[in-house]
């Protein structure tokens, strides 16, 4: 009997380990409910999604300073905010990278980059990388479009910004803009999932 209990306990533990592993590696899928967070902004203040009260949803962008893809997409992230913040979908940028080996991605450098380019949206530091992990972000840039539904934040799009990293003018599929426009007009998102293209997130050595 005791042995049985022990084996049962082992099984429960094993299942727990496997499922938590799965959760941490897969992250959010379209239709999942996202969790809000509280992270430090470039002005030193803590920011949560809930702080932006007028929002109908959010364009959460995991990005950083150093990555060539993040750099190429920077102006497009700014443009997304310009276009959609006033319509209720502001950009919230998060840098998840460990700056140890990428000093470009340090908090100080985030502050100066945001100033240089006059970011009109929060640029948050995910210092312990917990938000990137729970969302399942793997790359920079990696976008999650969230829609407020009552008190829930529902994931409506996950992936890349568009289909041409190098040249915005040659992009033919504008995944994020199309997703937000669809949500704004009460339609379903045409392409709700792509692979985010860019640099792998620099995880801390644990």
């Amino acid at each position: 009997m005791k042995k049985k209990h022990f084996i049962g306990l082992l099984l429960i533990l094993a299942v727990g380990v496997v499922s938590s592993f799965k959760l941490s590696t897969t992250g959010y899928k379209v239709g999942d409910k996202a969790t809000d967070f509280k992270l430090k902004n470039i002005d030193g203040k803590m920011v949560s999604l809930a702080d932006i009260k007028s929002a109908k949803g959010y364009i959460v962008v995991f990005t950083c300073n150093h990555c060539p893809f993040a750099k190429m997409y920077e102006d497009r992230v700014i443009a997304l905010n310009t276009e959609f913040a006033s319509k209720g979908y502001p950009v919230v940028a998060i840098n998840p990278n460990d700056p140890t080996n990428q000093t470009d991605d340090s908090y100080d450098n985030m502050v100066s980059r945001a100033k240089e380019k006059s970011y009109a949206f929060p640029y948050l530091v995910d210092e312990n990388q917990a938000v990137a992990k729970s969302y399942g972000a793997t790359n920079t840039p990696h976008v999650f479009v969230l829609q407020k539904q009552g008190s829930d934040l529902v994931v409506k799009y996950v992936g890349a910004i568009d289909d041409n990293a190098q040249d915005a003018s040659k992009a033919t599929k504008h995944y994020v803009a199309d997703a937000v426009n669809a949500l704004l007009s009460g339609k379903s998102v045409p392409v709700d999932q792509t692979k985010a293209i860019g640099c792998g997130i620099k995880w801390k050595n644990s």
């Binding site: 060539p68 793997t138 790359n139 992936g159 890349a160 289909d163 041409n164 990293a165 190098q166 040249d167 040659k170 599929k173 792509t194 692979k195 985010a196 293209i197 640099c199 792998g200």
Partner: protein, 160 residues
């Protein structure tokens, strides 16, 4: 006649210095290379000059390639540098590193149109290394950097 000779020399000279330059390809050309059916094991290393871990592991692939008979294991570098950086970054890098392997610049910016055809679980992160032997049915993508030791261990079954 002299002129002809001169231009022949010029062309030949250009060809020699072209040896370490990357050719620009599209995905179907890569697919054709991936389908070669012979006794050789092909190692495609996806990388870019702007990717620090790629640059770090690059010499390991050169070493393994130099140490192995080209008939058994052939290392092919697939650069995802941007086409505009071909002569600015990629070719100078190849020259500096005395690269003798085949190097191609894969000019396919819409990653979502092709990365699934390499491996459905790959999200295009660099570096990634694809080992293929169509005769023995080997097809495996390693989406991480390699140390020389890891690379030797991984390729051991195909070298002997």
């Amino acid at each position: 006649m002299k002129k002809v000779l001169l231009s022949v020399i010029l062309v030949l000279g250009a060809m020699v210095s072209m040896a370490q330059m990357a050719s620009v390809i599209k995905f179907p050309q890569l697919q054709a290379m991936m389908k070669q059916n012979n006794d050789t094991t092909y190692v495609f290393n996806f990388w870019a000059t702007w990717c620090a871990p790629c640059v770090e592991e690059f010499p390991n692939f050169q070493k393994i390639s130099d140490a192995t008979s080209k008939n058994k294991v052939k290392v092919i570098f697939i650069s995802l540098d941007f086409k505009k950086d071909l002569n600015k970054s990629l070719n100078p890098f190849l020259k500096n590193h005395n690269v003798t392997n085949s190097v191609y610049l894969l000019d396919e910016l819409d990653y979502n149109s092709w990365i699934d055809k390499v491996d459905k679980d790959w999200n295009g992160d660099l570096p990634a290394t694809l080992v293929i032997n169509n005769k023995t049915g080997v097809y495996k993508l390693y989406p991480h950097p390699f140390t020389l030791d890891q690379l030797q261990q991984t390729l051991k079954p195909y070298i002997n």
